[in-house]
Symmetry: C2
Subunit: 481 residues, 2 copies
C-alpha cells in the first residue's frame, strides 16, 4: 500500500532561499515562467518569473566561460543520476529531458514557457535582488501555443484598461498588475488577523437568500427550485443574527448588487469585509474598531508587502487618528470653504464626498474621515436613530481620499422598536420573520460595518477605476473573463 | 474636531482575563447574555453566556453575606462616580442605571437579556472554569420580548434537526451548536495559514459567471442585465488562470450547485476550500499538500479548539499518513472482502465509498483514504488523462470515514491537448475562449483540489447530516432562515 505522508521539500529553490545568500557559488535549480529572453549575440539573458519576483539568468558562449560550462555539464549529469524524486513523481517524459545547453536552446526559447533552469548562483549588483544564475541547463516543462499579444513583460504595460480587462487572464501576469492583488491579499489578512485578535469569530453565511437586506430593486433574482430567490446584497441579517451567538463576528465574502450605474466606483459583484459586534456602548466603538483594523493593516503591509508597495509607488496613509465629523457639519464646512451651495441637505453627492475628503486632507492632513449621523431616511430600517434627533442615525461612512469605502453604524436591538420603524416605512414583518426572531428573543446592543475591498484597494493604490482592483470585474457590460 | 484613534480597552473583562486568576477577590464587570436563571430560594444563580463560554454568577440573600453586599454597594457606587468612559460613549439611559441588587431583580431576570454584571471573583471548583462571580450589581442592557420557545440552555437540545433549523437564528445560541462552527472556523484558519506558509496567494474570483466549470444542468441561472449568467459551481477556471499569475493560489468561497438530490450529504450552496498549484511533477504532490493541510489543521484544532472538541466529544483523526489506492483496485478490495458484486466499473456508489472507508479503517486504522485514477469519462474535460492508460485520469478523491470530502487532480496544461479533449466530448472552444487563453499563451504543469468545508466538518464531528455543519443550510426545500 502506498501512503501519503505530507509535503516534501522540492529540489528547486525559491527566491527567498536564493536571497539567504547561502547558495553563492552553488549550482541550483529554479522553476518559473520565461518572462523575457534578451538575445545579446554571444550572451543570452533569460528572466524567470516566479510568484515572488523575477530572477535573472544568463548564458555566455565564450571561451572564458569554458570552465563554468564544464562544471555545468557535470551538474547537469548529476541531476539525472538518480537522486530520489521525493514526491514519488514519474520520470519526466523523454522529450523534455535536459540537453547540454547551447546558445540556440535559449535563443529559441518561447516567452511564457514553463521551465526548470539549472545554474550557478553569483552575486550580481545589476540583477534583481543582487543575484543571478549562470545557466548550465534548462528543461522546458511546457510551451505556449502562440506568442503573447500584449507585452506583459514590460514594467508598465501602457495599455488601456479595456484592453487589459479583455485579456485579464494574461495581463495579470504583468508584475505590476499582480502586485496590486498581493496588496489586496494583505488587506484581507489584516482584516482577519486583527479581528481574530479582538475576539471575533469568522462565519460563512448563505449568498442565495429569499430577500435582500437592503431592499430596493438592485438585486439579482434567480429561480431556486421554483421559488423566488435573490443573490445577497449584504450579509447584514446573518451577521446580526450571529452576534446573538458569538458576540462578535466577521465575514469576508462576495456580495451582489444589480445597480445599473456604469461608473468608475461601482462593481456588480464585490468582496465585502463585514463585521458586527455586540455589547457596544456607542457607535463610536465601531469606528474605533475600524481604525484599529486600518492601523494593524498598514503595519502589516509595511512589514510583509514592502516590495509590492515600492513597485507601485504606494505611500501608506497615516491612520494614527481619523477625524470624525457630523454629516450636516461636513456639508457646511465644505459649502463654506469651497463656495458651494447645499442643494440636498439629506444626501451627499459624489462631488461633495470628494470635497469633504479634500477638506480633511487640507485642514488635518488626513486621508480618511468618518462622516457620522447620516439622515435616517437615507439609511435602512434597521439603523438606530439618534435618540437626540430621530432625523439622524447613529451611523457613519468612512471616506478615503473622498470616496466612501465603508458604511456602518449601530443597529436597533429592541423588537418593538424595529417593528415600529418597519411599520413607519410600510414594511411587512412577515416578510423577514426569521430575521426579526433574533430581536423577539433578545439581542444585545450592537452594530457593525461593511467595507468594500476593491474600493479600499483602489484608493490605497491611487487607481482611478475600481476595476483595476478586481481580478475579474463584473459590471453592467462585463461577465467575462 | 473629534478624532478616532483606535480600540480602547473596555471596562468589562473577558473570560480569558478571568482565567488568568489575577482577579480573585476583586470586583469586576462582565457582559453577556442571561443563559439561565436558577432560583434556589435564598440564592439565585445566573449563568452568563459569552462568546468564549459560560460564567456562573451567584447572589445570596443571607446575613452572612452582609459584608460582601456592603462591599458590593461601594463598588457599585464607585462605578457611577465618573471614571472616564474611554470609548466616549454617551451615558447609559436613566432607565437602565444600576440599582442596588435585590433577590427580586434576579428572580425576574428574563433569559436572553443582555446584561452587565458586577461581582467579586471567587474560586469555586463546581463552577465552569473554577471561578464564579459573587454578584453585587446587574444592569440590563436589553430585554427579549418573548420567552424562548426552545431550551437552548440545555447542554444537549434533544430537538429534531427540522426544529433546530426552523429556529436556526436562536438554536445556534446553544453552546454545543455554536461549538461546531467554532471548529469549522479552525478548519478554515488551518487551510489558509498552512497554504500561506507554503507560498500560496489568496485570491477572490467572481461567483457570477457566464458558464459553469463543471457543465451539466445543475447550475442556478440568473438574468444578468439581459444576458444569461450562472452562479459558479466551482472557481476551477479562475484558480487555474491564477496559477499562471502566482504559481500557487487558494480561495475560500461559496459555490452553488442546483442539484435536486435531497440527501444527507448534499447542500445547494456550500463553502469550497480550493487550491491550485503549478510546477508539479505529479498529481501525488497535490495529495501531499492536502495531507500537510490536514496535519497542520489537526494540530491547530488540538491547540486552540480543545474546549470545543471536548464539548462535542470529538476525537481527532490520525493523519500522519494517508493510504492511497487506485480506483479499480479499491473496488476489487471491497468486492472481495465484503462479498459485493461490482456493478459499474466506472463509478463509485455511495455504499461502495462507505465500504472503502470501512476497509481502510479495518485494515490500516485510517479514517482517510485517497482513491486515485478515476475513470476519465467520470471526470471533467480539463482533467489530465493517465499517459499510461487514457481510460483513467491523474486524479483523486479523498474519502473521510467513507464520504468524499475532496476532488482533485492534475489538469491538462497543453493547449492542443485540451482542444483535442474538448473536441472528443463535442464541446465548442468558442464557449470558453477566455479560459482557453491561458493554455494558448502558456501554462505550467499544474493541479489542485476542492474541499467541501461542510462535509469535512460533518465527518470530523461525526454528524449524520451535512446540514448540521452549515450555519444556514440551503437545500431543495430550504431558502430560509
Amino acid at each position: 500500500m502506498e501512503f501519503i505522508s505530507g509535503v516534501k521539500q522540492k529540489e528547486d529553490i525559491s527566491i527567498s532561499q536564493l536571497l539567504t545568500g547561502n547558495y553563492i557559488g552553488q549550482t541550483v535549480r529554479m522553476r518559473g515562467a520565461v518572462h523575457n529572453v534578451r538575445d545579446m549575440g554571444e550572451m543570452v539573458f533569460v528572466i524567470l518569473r516566479k510568484s515572488e519576483g523575477l530572477v535573472q539568468c544568463v548564458y555566455e558562449d565564450h571561451p572564458d566561460r569554458a570552465a563554468d560550462r564544464g562544471a555545468d555539464t557535470a551538474a547537469g549529469a548529476a541531476r539525472s543520476d538518480g537522486k530520489d524524486n521525493e514526491a514519488g513523481a514519474p520520470a519526466a517524459p523523454a522529450d523534455s529531458m535536459p540537453v547540454p545547453l547551447q546558445l540556440s536552446n535559449l535563443k529559441n526559447l518561447k516567452e511564457e514557457s514553463a521551465v526548470e533552469v539549472t545554474g550557478r548562483v553569483a552575486a550580481e549588483a545589476r540583477a534583481p535582488y543582487g543575484y543571478e544564475l549562470r545557466l548550465c541547463g534548462i528543461e522546458v516543462l511546457s510551451e505556449p501555443d502562440e506568442i503573447l499579444p500584449l507585452a506583459i513583460n514590460k514594467f508598465k504595460m501602457h495599455t488601456s484598461l479595456e484592453a487589459k480587462l479583455a485579456m485579464r487572464p494574461i495581463s495579470l501576469r504583468n508584475v505590476r498588475e499582480r502586485a496590486k492583488f498581493k496588496i489586496q491579499e494583505g488587506i484581507v489578512r489584516g482584516f482577519r488577523d486583527f479581528l481574530m485578535s479582538q475576539g471575533f469569530t469568522e462565519v460563512h453565511t448563505p449568498k442565495i437568500v429569499s430577500r435582500g437586506a437592503e431592499g430596493g430593486s438592485n438585486v439579482f433574482k434567480l429561480d431556486y427550485f421554483n421559488k423566488k430567490a435573490e443573490m445577497g446584497q449584504s450579509p447584514q441579517f446573518y451577521k446580526q443574527t450571529m452576534v446573538g451567538v458569538y458576540d462578535r463576528v466577521f465575514e469576508v465574502a462576495p456580495v451582489f448588487r444589480a445597480e445599473k450605474h456604469n461608473t468608475t466606483r461601482h462593481l456588480n459583484e464585490y468582496v465585502s469585509l463585514d463585521f458586527e459586534m455586540g455589547y457596544i456602548d456607542s457607535f463610536e466603538e465601531i469606528m474605533a474598531m475600524e481604525t484599529g483594523f486600518l492601523q494593524y493593516t498598514m503595519e502589516l503591509l509595511a512589514k510583509d508587502y514592502q516590495k509590492e508597495l515600492e513597485m507601485l509607488d504606494v505611500k501608506l496613509p497615516d491612520v494614527s487618528r481619523i477625524p470624525a465629523v457630523r454629516f450636516d457639519k461636513a456639508k457646511e464646512l465644505v459649502a463654506e470653504k469651497y463656495n458651494r451651495k447645499i442643494r440636498n441637505p439629506f444626501d451627499l453627492e459624489p462631488e461633495e464626498e470628494l470635497l469633504i475628503g479634500r477638506y480633511f486632507e487640507e485642514e488635518y492632513g488626513s486621508d480618511f474621515v468618518f462622516v457620522t449621523h447620516y439622515p435616517s431616511k437615507k439609511r435602512p430600517f434597521y439603523a438606530m436613530d439618534d435618540p437626540e434627533d430621530a432625523r439622524f442615525t447613529l451611523s457613519f461612512d468612512l471616506l478615503f481620499r473622498g470616496l466612501e469605502v465603508t458604511t456602518g453604524g449601530q443597529r436597533i436591538h429592541d423588537y418593538k422598536e424595529i417593528l415600529k420603524k418597519m411599520e413607519k416605512r410600510g414594511m411587512d414583518p412577515a416578510d423577514i420573520e426569521s430575521y426579526l426572531m433574533i430581536f423577539k428573543y433578545g439581542m444585545p446592543p450592537h452594530g457593525g460595518l461593511g467595507i468594500g475591498l476593491e474600493r479600499l484597494t483602489m484608493r490605497l493604490l491611487s487607481e482611478q477605476n475600481v476595476r483595476e482592483a478586481s481580478l475579474f470585474p463584473r459590471d453592467v457590460t462585463r461577465l467575462e473573463p
